[in-house]
């Protein structure tokens, strides 16, 4: 018979801080390998410029104002599209969740239109709205609208019926039940819809700018690729990564502010 059986030994398990260190180290290692691959001449900088070269290119583009111009154009499109799509999605989602009739009318319409990849709507939007900013904003708005409306509707439907009953029993009227019970109860799900929408907005703005634009991050990347300016292309990609991270972080901060009772679940 064995004298000791070790079922689990966690005496040397990494603490939380160490795990974070591992993450930073792996990122640094990736950058180092990337740099080495270029410096040692294994891959031509035409195909993969090293991180230092990308950083230098980024500095040049910031100095010349090129980077800010493209970033600004894209951000304005995202902001308008997101604002319109999120506002419409939230409002309609609340109506769908609160009214049986609206639900019966709206659900089949949403089910039928949701599967269309939103980028496929761009030609139609251009036909309707011309070739300016409007079709791009409209397409982004549609892309954001769907996850938001679906999440809002789900959040409203998932409201615990006992809470509605409790509120009614305490004297809340219909509109008070909506604003003081259903809305806060659905809020975390609505915000999750916003996060999904933000990701889609980024995807769509780049797609639209690659199809029909003369400025913006998508245009920058496509144009740089056409001219084999790989450094600029990489700057565009890094910018997209940072934008994605920033939007996720901002929406999480918003959720922490609007829904502090959920802190345990994050």
């Amino acid at each position: 018979m064995a004298e000791r059986v070790v079922v689990y030994d966690a005496t040397n398990a990494p603490a939380g801080g160490e795990r974070r260190g591992v993450g930073v180290a792996s990122l640094a290692a990736l950058l180092l390998v990337w740099e080495a691959v270029g410096r040692l001449g294994w891959v031509s900088p035409l195909f993969l410029p090293p991180p230092t070269a990308v950083a230098a290119e980024a500095a040049r583009m910031v100095a010349s104002g090129e980077l800010l111009r493209h970033l600004g154009v894209s951000l304005v499109r995202i902001a308008w599209g997101f604002a319109v799509g999120a506002a419409a999605g939230t409002a309609l989602g609340l109506v769908l969740g609160a009214s049986r009739l609206a639900e019966a009318i709206g659900n089949p319409l949403i089910a039928a239109t949701y599967p269309i990849p939103k980028i496929a709507l761009l030609p139609l939007m251009i036909l309707w709205l011309g070739i300016g900013e409007a079709p791009k904003v409209a397409m982004i708005a549609l892309g954001v609208f769907f996850p938001v409306v679906i999440n809002t509707y789900a959040g409203v439907r998932d409201t615990e019926p006992l809470m509605v009953k409790a509120a009614t029993s305490l004297g809340a009227r219909r509109h008070q039940v909506l604003t003081k019970v259903i809305l806060p109860s659905a809020l975390p799900t609505i915000l999750a819809g916003y996060r999904l929408g933000a990701g889609i907005a980024l995807l769509l703005v780049v797609s639209a700018e690659m199809i029909n634009a003369s400025a913006g991050i998508g245009f920058l990347i496509l144009h740089a690729g056409d001219l084999m300016l790989t450094g600029k292309l990489m700057v565009g990609l890094v910018l997209l990564s940072l934008l994605g991270l920033a939007s996720t972080w901002a929406l999480r901060a918003l959720e922490g502010y609007l829904a502090p009772w959920r802190e345990d679940f994050r």
Binding site: K165, A166, S169, A172, V181, W261
Partner: protein, 257 residues
């Protein structure tokens, strides 16, 4: 103030269009300052009765009358089993809810809420969220929230049934002490015989499917009651009496769920 439930019946229609009679001609009264418990097995419609009394569900037949009600005040407020606190509101916010929707000014709300938190022993917990509290404390918040609107009748729908056995026993004793201080009219629904006898001035015993009143048993145990009541021969005899009454129904419920 006196509450009369007069021949209340409730029939539901299920998805296949079948009629299901949940309550059959239920009549009972709750006097001013009386604690009435409704005892019945699962499926006897006792929760349905409470929902009708709370105005959350219309009866199919019969009527509910509050005699000698003070002007303007709310008729009833209900304490549910669980999951009925608002998780996005702090303890203070939860207790203040009824006062808020009734348009009571902030200052008056604050004072009332503080007094209630003290009454249920939750002073110092006002800024916590429900998920930071134990089950027993949450139910104390729920009771304070219902009492805040000063209802003529306090309705309680198996409020402690989701608690573990020890918390439940403690909460029963706390409710007894609380009731001694407030002397509210209470209608308390439960399937637990000891609980029904310990808390009630009268026990309304119901049968299942359709729910109707089998008998009403007066509980002549002296008040104030406490844990020693649980050992009194008179208490044990009443519990046994009630058990004999519900036994057949409970066995049936055990078999068909």
């Amino acid at each position: 103030m006196r509450v009369c439930v007069d021949g209340v019946a409730k029939t539901f229609t299920d998805r296949r269009g079948r009629q299901i009679e949940a309550l059959h001609e239920v009549s009972l009264t709750v006097e001013e300052g009386e604690f009435v418990t409704v005892l019945g097995p699962s499926g006897c419609g006792k929760s349905t009765l409470l929902h009708i009394l709370a105005g959350l569900l219309p009866p199919t037949r019969g009527r509910i009358v509050f005699e000698g009600l003070p002007e303007g005040g709310p008729v009833s407020a209900i304490v549910f089993q669980e999951h009925a606190l608002f998780p996005w509101r702090t303890v203070l916010g939860n207790v203040a809810f009824g006062l808020e929707v009734r348009g009571l000014p902030e200052a008056a709300r604050q004072a009332r809420v503080r007094a209630l938190l003290e009454l249920v022993g939750l002073q110092g917990f006002g800024d916590r969220y429900p998920h930071q509290l134990s089950g027993g404390m949450r139910q104390r918040v729920a009771i304070a929230r219902a009492l805040a609107v000063e209802p003529a009748l306090l309705l309680m729908d198996e409020p402690f049934s989701a608690l573990d056995a020890q918390s439940r026993a403690l909460m029963q004793l706390e409710l007894l002490a609380l009731w001694e201080r407030t002397r509210k009219s209470v209608l308390y629904v439960t399937h637990q015989i000891q609980e029904a006898v310990l808390l009630g001035d009268r026990v309304v015993v119901m049968t299942r499917r359709p729910g109707r009143v089998l008998t009403v048993r007066a509980v002549d145990l002296p008040r104030p009651r406490d844990e020693r009541t649980l050992l009194a021969p008179a208490f044990l005899q009443l519990v046994d009496e009630c058990w004999q009454l519900v036994k057949k129904d409970a066995q049936e419920a055990f078999v068909d769920g």
